[in-house]
């Protein structure tokens, strides 16, 4: 988690709509019980050929984009599978923010839970940013979270962020800790809920016991 209010650095264009989490983190990298080593898996089939050698024509393998911190992507980035490994891998690879016209919803929550900043701007803004960052000479982007604006060499756009997401990003808000503070409200809810619908209490254990 970061308390930085700005993210600046090299940005790369990924002009592929509906870039799904299967492509962001292919299946062979999902077999761990921890989060280690996922940087290698990010966009694997795009970054590496069938023999595991880097594909020189892919943007993230080009020397001008070394140390890339920001991705400029197309609509519905991160759609598909819920695998949070996609976000863990991007973060491990050094990606701090993704800019796109829209994001898959589960991916959006996953990113927020890991301090990966997702910035939604209009398609026209994305087109302008892409245009700039495709040229290695103008591939820097500056993101100011306090002012909610993104700037490339020739374009500036404002973005919105809910107060909650801003707090999650800036302060690294611990959701589990915050919700555990409501434990009495949860307990009170359960009592009332199970009184009204007793067939929902312990439903997992009841079914498991029944079908043993």
């Amino acid at each position: 988690m970061s308390a930085d209010t700005s993210i600046a650095g090299v940005a790369a264009a990924l002009p592929i709509p509906n870039l799904d989490t299967d492509q962001i983190m292919p299946k062979q990298f999902l077999r761990g019980i921890d989060k280690a080593g996922l940087d290698r898996g990010v966009l694997y089939d795009l970054r590496f050929d069938a023999n595991g050698a880097p594909r020189s024509d892919f943007v993230l393998n080009q020397p001008e984009y070394a140390g890339c911190r920001i991705l400029v992507a197309e609509q519905n980035f991160g759609c598909g599978s819920s695998r949070e490994h996609a976000v863990w891998g991007l973060v491990q690879l050094g990606i701090r923010a993704v800019i796109a016209p829209s994001f898959g919803e589960i991916f959006y929550s996953n990113a927020m839970n890991n301090g990966l900043l997702l910035i939604v701007v209009a398609q026209l803004d994305v087109d302008r940013f892409m245009n700039d960052v495709r040229n290695p000479a103008t591939n820097r982007i500056d993101i100011d979270v306090a002012r909610l604006q993104v700037r490339s060499r020739t374009h500036l756009a404002k973005f919105a962020m809910s107060a909650r997401h801003r707090q999650m990003f800036l302060d690294g808000l611990d959701l589990v800790g915050a919700s555990l503070a409501s434990v009495e409200a949860i307990a009170a809810f359960e009592r009332k809920h199970w009184e009204e619908q007793p067939w929902l209490q312990s439903v997992g254990a009841m079914v498991r016991a029944r079908v043993c």
Binding site: Q23, R83, S179, R210, V211
Partner: protein
């Protein structure tokens, strides 16, 4: 104030309103698998926290499990074996009910949960898997969640939920012969796009939905996420209530009271939806995907569209890229396209009705010798049922591989994988690049269409096959 069914379910599960957008939502049931839960348990361990309500949870080994037709299953891949043993250890430690590798009732999480009577109308169900939308078929609100959220649910039995907008999709008319729920949902996704329902919970209504079985409704709700939907719902009717009543004998004592409540699970007549769309089931033909996104499909009697005619530059680029990957050209016919593999399985289409449909299409014909055709039943119960009905014997005689249940080649986390360039007729939900194996080519279709492809050795119109078959 009048409310939609989605709003009623959010209200009835709202522990706290957190801000204008978010609520703390109670989860009646949390399902877990072996690959999206380990880091969540590790997180709990680090915090020294218990699982708040282990009995509102159920775990199952499904994604990495091999499906070889051996009675006792051994997971050979060491990493996958560790995921399975780790899940078992976590469940034992926390007292969470588990369907382990060799449990006779093991199966795909979204197949076993409804068939064992775990899913009841009016529930909120969470799972670290995007296809949790399936449970809308029974009037239960299902959300796919990430692993951080899995940890949150384990610790609190709640989810921080960003409240979605409301969409209603009306389906009038009835499906024609040879057309199924899979074709209907592919038709809807093709029309609204891969992000057409992003930000919405979609309620499906109308004659075309009411006429469907519960299993067919699951296919619809399952794939709503391929249009980006946060959730899907179908108000429980007699068909849904009958389905649950028959599968949940443990709640017999409460049934009359439950049914009374379930009948109220519907949107108010004057409830306001942010978006309303309508389709006619009569317009739906047997569909096949031609690209690498589930919204890229056409009816079998239409040709692959020309990317030059796509709506936006981005869509044009995407279609061009998809055709290059899938090895097809604009204007090509899918009818007659040779295939290497057939995969019948997944949480979308591996239930008993799907297998009955496959058996019906196959009849006494044989799988084309050029094709390797696999059937992976959705669960041990589905497999047993199909064997009892004589379906398995018929399909084995036809040349299908009859395998053990699991997610299998829907996402190819186990050893069921396409080789580069192989073309597959698949009853699954995602035709993404590399989904079934690097450089593998997936064509999504219904179980009936996949069965027809297995026999013909190529993608074909199941309606033609049906009419030519002398029974």
């Amino acid at each position: 104030m009048s409310r939609t069914l989605y709003q009623k379910l959010v209200d009835s599960h709202c522990v706290q309103r957190l801000d204008e957008e978010h609520v703390l939502l109670y989860a009646d049931l949390h399902l877990m698998n072996e690959y999206t839960s380990p880091q969540a348990f590790a997180g709990l361990r680090q915090r020294g926290l218990p699982v708040r309500r282990p009995w509102q949870n159920v775990a199952v080994v499904d994604h990495i499990i091999p499906t070889h037709p051996l009675k006792h299953r051994v997971i050979v891949d060491p990493a996958s074996a560790l995921q399975a043993s780790n899940l078992a250890r976590n469940c034992e430690l926390h007292g969470i009910p588990l369907f382990d590798t060799n449990d006779p009732l093991q199966g795909i999480e979204h197949v076993i949960a409804p068939e064992l009577g775990m899913i009841r109308p009016g529930m909120v169900v969470l799972c670290g898997d995007s296809h949790t939308t399936t449970y809308g078929a029974l009037g239960a609100l299902g959300f796919g969640i990430g692993t951080s959220e899995v940890e949150h649910v384990l610790a609190t039995q709640t989810l921080v939920h960003r409240v979605a907008s409301n969409m209603r999709i009306r389906v009038d008319g009835r499906l024609s012969v040879g057309c199924t729920a899979k074709d209907l949902v592919l038709h809807i996704i093709a029309n609204i796009g891969a992000q057409g329902a992003r930000g919405y919970v979609v309620e499906f209504v109308g004659e075309g939905i009411a006429a469907l079985s519960v299993e067919a409704r699951m296919t619809i709700c399952n794939m709503a996420v391929e249009a980006g939907a946060r959730g899907a719902l179908i108000a429980p009717d007699d068909v849904a209530i009958e389905y649950v009543s028959a599968r949940a004998p443990d709640m017999k004592r409460h049934l009359p009271r439950a049914i009374e409540q379930w009948r109220k699970l519907r949107s108010d007549d004057d409830a306001r939806f942010d978006v309303e769309l309508s389709f006619d089931a009569c317009d739906v033909g047997p569909r096949v995907t031609w690209g690498t996104s589930p919204d890229q499909s056409v009816p079998i009697d239409e040709r692959v569209p020309d990317p030059a005619r796509a709506g936006s530059p981005q869509q044009r680029e995407a279609a061009t890229r998809a055709l290059r990957y899938i090895g097809l050209e604009a204007g090509a016919s899918l009818d007659g396209l040779a295939i290497d593999r057939v995969f019948i399985g997944s949480c979308t289409n591996a239930r008993i009705e799907d297998l009955r449909e496959v058996a019906k299409i196959v009849g006494d014909r044989k799988v084309d010798p050029r094709v390797r055709a696999m059937i992976v039943p959705g669960s041990g119960a589905v497999r047993d049922q199909a064997e009892a009905e004589g379906i398995a014997a018929r399909l084995i005689a036809a040349g299908f591989e009859w395998r053990q249940p699991g997610c299998s080649m829907c996402l190819a986390m186990n050893d069921d994988v396409l080789r580069p360039g192989e073309r597959c007729a698949s009853t699954t939900n995602r035709n993404f690049e590399g989904r079934q194996g690097r450089a593998g080519r997936t064509h999504l279709m219904s179980p009936a269409m996949a069965a027809a492809a297995a026999i013909a050795g190529c993608i074909t119109d199941v309606r033609r096959l049906e009419s030519s078959h002398v029974r």
